[in-house]
Amino acid sequence: MWIFDRDLWSEIFNTLGKNMLRTILTMLGVIFAMIILMLLLGSANGMSNGFDKLFAGTASNSLFVWSQRTSEPYKGFERGRRISFKLEDAGIIKKQVSEIEVLAPRIELGSHRNVVTVYRKGRKSGSSVYGDYPEIDNITKKKLIAGRFLNNNDIESSKKVCVIGEETVKFLFDKGESAIGEDIRINGVFFTVVGVYKPNNNINIDGKNAVFIPFTTFQKAFNSGDRLGWMAIAVKEDVKVPVVEEKIKKILKAKYDIHPNDPRAIGSFDMSEIFNNISSFTMVLKGVSFFVGIFTLLAGVIAISNILLITVKERTKEIGVRRALGATPRIVKRQILLEAIVLTTFAGLIGFAISVGALVGIGALAEGSEAPFVNPMVSIVQFGASFLLMIFLSVLIGLLPANRAIKIKPIEALREE
């Protein structure tokens, strides 16, 4: 096969190698184009990774539902009635809506967004205090830096234990002091610390300064009865969150005699909406960078074709001599075409190497910053696709100078200037 012909390749590399300056100048366009393409793609990836990290630990297909006041009169009830969910609602919903993967009811001490004072040995901290089920950890994942999270055993025996935030530890303990096993006091009730969590560098619903106690313990200690604050719900992977949201609201509206069209009585927050917005944003970003990059690449490859056209003109005599010495048009065409491909390939690889280096550098710089920009790198698939496309373009565009070259008649070599 001609492709394995060592002579052919040495002929091509000879020709390119002996005209180094010309070769390098020809390659510059594609090198830059490849760098631009790879940097664009890499940055888009970095951004996408950055957002992923931001959301890491929060189930993307999750939903939060809470009760508010009605805004429509219904069945004899006036508007402005305060709705309050009960613990049993969680069970009902879980049973009736099969698309739910995890449902974690939660209750907060005091009114929502208000802090409660937590005491320990004369120190205090204004923290949010939540009654939780262990399942909540599947929806808003916490990074534990010491101890453990709440478990089913805590729930069953209503243990007076708690998991507290890093920030809470700072307020209540000395530096270097271990919080595990120590007691803290909330509203006159003592709880033993079993775990300390650290917020992920991401969207954090619970904040840094919070105390989690078992739901059942919360009920007894603070006398909350069967009240429920809100429900955190993760839906199954292949299900759309808004569908489940509608189902849940329908059940709850029927149960609490709320007007079916009342938009306010039940509050909810669809986490997937934000995810979808951001992932479509990064998708568009990736698409645009690919598009821009490909056209830059096209321009680079056209530049190669252009310069090869000029070189073919310049090499008229050489090509004529080769023809006179017995080179068939096919051999000449193949040589020029392969020169174009080899040039593009080399330039592409050089550009790729440079851009990978640059991306590693940018990644290292972004490491310490808050910006959502993590590990900017192109994937093998992206690189492979760009590379194949580039070679395809180079073949297509290399045909131009190659066809010009075969039009050169050997007689032109004989013609004296």
Partner: protein, 233 residues
């Protein structure tokens, strides 16, 4: 070796047509050393181009080593050139980024001769033209006479039936010219058929036969007593 019958060629120049070759008849036997002479415009270069399959005739017959040369496409012409003919040009036409040996080996590359054999042959022919020691030099490092000798070695490397030399001494001073002619005579002595196009009478006198062209026809075709070039070297 070469048989040409009633060869015609004309070029279109706008609306006019220029009749360059007006019925050429001549034969060349194996081992001959023929000078084709004529002033510029006599048609000698056109004749050489047709002989070298670089150009097509309008009508007439051309047989080379018993093979009728007609209806050639570019690929076939390239093969025939490679197989039958060796070219020596006035301006040498070496490829400037290839060494002397690489230049000599080029026609062999197009004959698909293996790398090793190519190298051996290139060195052998460089030896024959006395430039073995210059094998790795680029053309820019060689004198005019040396370049022409490399070109001759290149023409010989493919072991052609006929060597076509177009004004081989046109770009050289007289001493170097005689050196080159001495080389051509020696190659001819070894049995090679050579056609030399020239307009210099002293160069023509160093051949064994002179064909004189004027206005597209052969006006004179005579065998001569060869003047040896080595007496001037």
């Amino acid at each position: 070796m070469i048989e040409i019958k009633n060869l015609h060629k004309s070029y279109k120049m706008g609306s006019n047509s220029l009749h360059v070759l007006k019925g050429i008849n001549f034969n060349v036997e194996e081992g001959e050393l023929v000078a084709i002479m004529g002033s510029s415009g006599s048609g000698k270069s056109t004749l050489l181009n047709i002989l070298g399959m670089l150009d097509n005739s309008d009508s007439g017959e051309y047989n080379l080593d018993g093979v009728p040369i007609k209806d050639l496409n570019e690929t076939k012409a390239a093969r025939y050139r490679n197989k039958f003919l060796g070219f020596v040009f006035q301006s040498f036409n070496l490829i400037n980024y290839k060494s002397a040996a690489e230049n000599v080996a080029l026609p062999l590359y197009y004959q698909k001769v293996g790398r090793k054999e190519r190298q051996e042959k290139a060195l052998k022919y460089l030896e024959q033209v006395g430039l073995r020691d210059w094998a790795s030099h680029l053309p820019s490092e060689l004198s005019g006479g040396q370049k022409q000798r490399v070109a001759i070695a290149r023409a010989l490397a493919a072991e052609p039936k006929v060597l076509l030399a177009d004004e081989p001494t046109g770009a050289l001073d007289s001493t170097t010219s005689y050196e080159v002619m001495d080389l051509i005579q020696k190659i001819n002595d070894a049995g090679n058929t050579i056609l030399v196009v020239t307009h210099e009478p002293d160069i023509a006198d160093m051949c064994k036969r002179i064909v004189h062209l004027k206005d597209g026809v052969i006006v004179e075709d005579k065998k001569i007593e060869q003047v040896r070039a080595d007496q001037y070297v």
